[in-house]
């Protein structure tokens, strides 16, 4: 097998080479400038390569060399707080090397080779270890980075030493194999796990509309339609800040440069509310904007996913955000059309659905090789062209993911935040998560949620009547239903990301708040039966107090006080 060949044809990012016989998805170096590319098709003697960089000026006859290995991600200490492009080149390093623009032919390793890390062994000489097991730890900023036995390595620890090492130095010898703190893993191959669990624990985000109404399970996948200025960015930041995932991987895939800059400038300033440290300390950002090479965009989601899996294997809960998967799908379409493949729907390749599900299937909560538990929850933004949800990317995504958070332009215009619509969103995890909620929040929590959804559903039906005949024509009990629905929307679903108290709502508080609204509803019904006037029921002072209780510093006491007030107020109305 020859490792060196030459270019036969160049047409945009697709290059054909002859004289090499690589494996599918091997990484090759193309041309005199050694542009990085990946084998995507083999036809007879011809090897078709997608090149991650601009190919202007490259000509037939230039050399092509096969590295013999697929596109890999470098995994080890130093990933956190990094900012990478789609093929894991650190953007700050690229800036130092090439200036403000990204030129081609510059390679930069994903992990810093110079930096020393303090390695603390967790096993000792003579111990029997297996793949995926923790052999030591390193403090990566404020996170504990667990060094794992590389896949396919098993045996007795021949040697292990504490001390300060860079990522390439040997820290241990296991079964005759030198082990350093860095692993390489092919990005298109899922990292192995021992067992995948049924997702039955919610990813608690502290956002009421998500946790109570449309929960995402740890290890599950959700889709948000984004790109309409509906507050997608704020929602994602809230999730990054508050969800009970230890590690955040954010992939900016084919989005606007200025938007990415916003993320890059804001994330380092965001404070991790749990530790007070910068949120960047537990975040990895991948930025491949729309004008950066399309092949690297296609690879970016895999690079991000591989990094997420690596932290999962240490036993962490990871949340991965891909913004936007539609741009990724378009990259596939573009490359497919360059390959002159037969197109499927709307020009997308026929394997679109397959690739999307392969990607989302890498989300899971699982038992790692070392028997600890980790998870990856995926939140994928989709950008349907013309807002048309029937287009192939959205449809294929919705077939796979089980949670849909429908950000709604009308709600945004009405300043209802988070602008997640309660009627069009859904979560198919609600049944699976019932058990957790009953055991960990309150026995009647699932019932409460159903009650609230029912009221909101009724409201939308009643609204249709109101539009025809006006609200005055409704019977009293329906007026109360409308009022209670309004309370659920304004008090419970609306949440102010910029308010110190309201920005994060623990499960117990979500429950208490919902219960208070329910209490008002029940008391109102009783008062009506007892003959009280609707106007009086709407005017009880405790109702006003309830509306603003969520912003109070002493919120828990306030809720108790409101609870008492409700009773005394309604006692006055004869209940």
């Amino acid at each position: 097998m020859s490792k060196e060949g030459k270019i036969y044809r160049v047409a945009g990012p697709v290059v054909t080479a002859v004289g090499i016989s690589p494996k599918m998805y091997d990484v090759v170096q193309v041309g005199k400038e050694k542009l990085m590319g990946e084998v995507i098709k083999i036809v007879g003697d011809h090897t078709i390569i997608q090149v991650y960089e601009d190919t202007s000026g490259v000509r037939p006859g230039e050399p092509v060399s096969n590295t013999g290995r697929p596109l890999v991600a470098e995994l080890g200490p130093g990933l956190l707080s990094s900012v990478y492009d789609g093929i894991q080149r650190p953007l700050p390093v690229l800036k130092d090397k090439m200036g403000d623009y990204i030129f081609r032919g510059v390679s930069a390793p994903g992990l810093d080779r110079e930096k020393k890390w303090d390695f603390n062994p967790a096993v000792k000489k003579g111990d029997e270890v297996t793949e995926g097991q923790v052999i030591g730890t390193v403090m990566e900023g404020t996170m504990e980075h667990r060094i794992l036995v590389p896949p396919k390595v098993n045996g007795k620890v021949d040697k292990i030493k504490a001390g300060s090492f860079n990522v390439e130095e040997t820290v241990a010898v296991i079964g005759g194999t030198d082990v350093s703190m860095m692993q390489r893993w092919p990005v298109r191959v899922p990292r192995p796990v021992k067992e995948k669990f049924q997702p039955d624990i919610p990813l608690v985000t502290g956002q009421r509309v998500l946790d109570t109404m449309f929960p995402l399970a740890k290890g599950g996948a959700a889709a948000i339609p984004g790109g309409f200025g509906t507050g997608k960015t704020v929602t994602q930041q809230q999730l990054a800040k508050w969800s009970d995932a230890e590690i955040v991987v954010y992939i900016g895939c084919g989005e606007r440069g200025n938007e990415m800059t916003e993320v890059l400038t804001e994330f380092p300033h965001l404070e991790d509310p749990k530790s007070g440290n910068p949120l960047m300390n537990r975040t990895v950002l991948i930025a491949n904007t729309s004008n950066m090479p399309v092949a690297a965009r296609e690879a970016s989601v895999y690079t991000g996913m591989t990094i997420a899996e690596y932290y999962r294997d240490m036993g962490y809960n990871v949340s991965l955000m891909a913004d936007s998967t539609s741009r990724w799908a378009e990259a596939m379409r573009e490359i497919s059309s360059r390959l002159e493949e037969m197109p499927g729907e709307e020009g997308y390749p026929a394997y679109l659905a397959g690739r999307l599900s392969e990607f989302y299937e890498r989300a899971c909560r699982c038992k790692t090789l070392a028997d600890s538990e980790g998870s990856i929850s995926v939140i994928g933004a989709v950008s349907p062209p013309g807002g048309d949800l029937s287009e192939p990317v959205t449809q294929n995504t919705l077939r796979i993911v089980r949670v849909f958070w429908a950000l709604d332009t009308k709600l945004r215009e009405r300043r209802h935040f988070p602008a997640i619509h309660w009627l069009t969103s859904y979560s198919l995890y609600d049944k699976q998560l019932r058990g957790w909620y009953s055991a960990n929040v309150a026995e009647d929590f699932p019932a409460m949620r159903e009650w609230a959804m029912l009221i909101l559903q009724k409201e939308s039906e009643l609204q249709e009547i109101v539009q025809l005949v006006g609200s005055d024509a409704l019977p009293d009990e329906q007026k109360i239903t409308l009022e209670v629905a309004k309370m659920i929307r304004e008090i419970f679903l609306q949440q102010n990301a910029y308010d110190k108290v309201d920005t994060y709502s623990p499960m117990q508080r979500q429950y208490t708040l919902m219960k208070l609204i329910k209490k008002y509803a029940d008391l109102a019904d009783k008062a009506l039966t007892a003959g009280a006037l609707v106007a009086k029921i709407f005017e009880v002072p405790s109702k006003q107090r309830l509306a603003i209780a969520k912003y109070k510093q002493n919120i828990d006491d306030e809720y108790k006080a409101v609870d008492k007030d409700l009773e005394s107020d309604f006692a006055k109305l004869g209940v």
């Binding site: 036969y8 044809r9 160049v10 047409a11 945009g12 054909t16 190919t55 202007s56 000026g57 490259v58 000509r59 037939p60 006859g61 230039e62 900012v83 953007l91 700050p92 800036k95 403000d100 623009y101 990204i102 030129f103 081609r104 200025g229 900016g252 084919g254 606007r256 440069g257 200025n258 938007e259 990415m260 800059t261 916003e262 890059l264 930025a287 904007t289 729309s290 004008n291 950066m292 090479p293 399309v294 741009r327 378009e330 379409r333 573009e334 497919s336 059309s337 360059r338 002159e340 493949e341 037969m342 197109p343 709307e346 020009g347 950008s383 062209p385 013309g386 048309d388 215009e413 300043r415």
Partner: protein
């Protein structure tokens, strides 16, 4: 790389704008080509596909007159744009040749026209408010430096007038900096060109502008190159000469048609409506050349104009553009018919960077804008209702909203072609018409602003 350029007489096929050349030495992708015709004239082109057997060349000026005996010369370099400070005030063709009878440009530098992507890490967030003097933009869809804000228009609408008015009036207040306009015309008619040029001369704006003209009867293929020449010039002026550059690109629809034409000639698998599958990436490579860079004084702000075929905003051209640009200004045929200039439909317009812009204007700006949007939207909804039930059956409050919508179009939207409103003027007009609403209808405006501005 050899300096000797290679000549061939081995054309094997000519199809549409493409020429296929056989048996060449290795030719690089995107290399420039010059073709000498039998009558002695030359045409220029660029390599689209290069292999050992065959090189595909796209001819900028069209293939008319090329025969099998034409001589093809490969120039050994990719397309470069000569740039210099003296370019201000010049009028150039769609392929960069002087059209104004002036001398060729003496280059200080020759830059690759494809342009590399700005490293996201090196970008600076757009922030400075640009006052265009147009209320619907300044007040409600604020433009900031480094933003790309397209005008989505339709045939027969006065988007060119609006673009020229913006070019004339745009400024960052309180800043005394070098300002330049790069005007890139793609496939505009001769008549439109006359109007633009007259306008440039009349207002004296030409001395701060570089104009690239690819007219409707110029080869369509050249249109692929023209915006890249313009943007390369803009990058040079912004990031090497520290100038604040406004780039106006018109009309992107013609550009995309040219892309489709080449795609079809190459027999590529088409995407939506026959446009090539890579159109998103291609457009991104134009639009994303707007922005600011950390540590550099200059900036590039883009106002691309595109006419939506059949006024259809979901057509691939406006749709893909909308996903790359930071908002859009949408022109309305209804307002135009009603005789309102500029006919900006604020309801579907959006500036994604507005929140950055309003930080530099006045504290009440965001509130006022929100209120205008909300009240105008309600007023417009009521128009539909009035058509059915009549104005009499509306409540007092609704009648106010209905009148407000008319007032809004007449006072805020409508303005003169020469009217340059400061942001204070715009806000004053807004407060003036907001007074026609009752106090409890001003639910989007903080009490303190109501107290300060409502009375005076």
């Amino acid at each position: 790389m050899s300096n000797v350029s290679k000549e061939y007489k081995t054309i094997s096929e000519i199809a549409g704008p493409l020429v296929f050349v056989k048996k060449t030495e290795p030719i690089s992708y995107q290399e420039l080509v010059s073709v000498k015709l039998s009558d002695g004239s030359t045409k220029r082109g660029q390599v689209l596909d290069s292999s050992d057997d065959m090189v595909v060349v796209q001819i900028f000026e069209g293939t008319a007159g090329i025969d099998r005996n034409a001589t093809v010369r490969f120039l050994g370099e990719t397309m470069k744009m000569p740039v210099s400070k003296d370019m201000l005030g010049r009028v150039l063709s769609g392929s960069g040749e002087p059209l104004d009878g002036g001398p060729a440009i003496t280059p200080e530098k020759k830059l690759d026209i494809v342009g590399a992507a700005i490293n996201p890490w090196a970008r600076d967030s757009p922030a400075d408010f640009i006052q265009t003097g147009i209320s619907t933009i300044d007040g409600m869809n604020t433009l900031v430096r480094g933003q790309k804000l397209p005008i989505f228009s339709g045939s027969g609408l006065p988007h060119n007038d609006l673009a020229m008015q913006i070019a004339r009036q745009a400024k960052v207040r309180g800043a005394d900096e070098d300002f330049a306009v790069v005007f890139v015309a793609m496939g505009i008619t001769n008549e439109e060109k006359q109007t633009f040029m007259k306008e440039f001369e009349r207002t004296g704006a030409l001395k701060n502008a570089v104009v690239f003209l690819n007219l409707a009867d110029d080869p369509a293929i050249e249109r692929i190159v023209t915006p890249r020449l313009g943007l390369t010039t803009a990058e040079y002026m912004a990031f090497e000469l520290d100038m604040q550059v406004l780039v106006i690109l018109t009309d992107l629809t013609n550009y995309c048609e040219a892309l489709r034409q080449i795609g079809a000639a190459r027999e590529e698998v088409p995407g939506r409506r026959g446009y090539p599958g890579y159109m998103y990436t291609d457009l991104a490579q134009l639009y994303e050349r707007a922005g600011r860079i950390k540590g550099k004084k200059g900036s590039i702000t883009q106002i691309p104009i595109l006419s939506m075929p059949g006024d259809d905003i979901t057509h691939p051209i406006p749709d893909l553009s909308g996903y790359i640009t930071e908002g859009q200004i949408v022109m309305s045929r209804e307002l135009h018919r009603a005789g309102i200039y500029p006919p900006v439909n604020v309801s579907s317009s959006l500036s994604r960077l507005m929140s950055a812009g309003v930080k530099r204007t006045r504290a009440d700006h965001q509130n006022v804008s929100d209120q205008l949007y909300a009240a105008y939207a309600e007023g417009k909804d009521l128009r539909g209702l009035v058509a059915i039930v009549g104005k009499e059956s509306l409540s007092e409050k609704d009648r106010r909203l209905l009148d407000f919508a008319d007032l809004f179009e007449d006072r805020v939207v409508r303005q003169g072609h020469e009217e340059d409103r400061s942001i204070e003027d715009t806000l004053a007009i807004a407060w003036d018409i907001l007074r026609s609403l009752s106090k409890d209808q001003l639910n989007r405006i903080k009490q303190e602003f109501q107290e300060k501005y409502l009375k005076s």
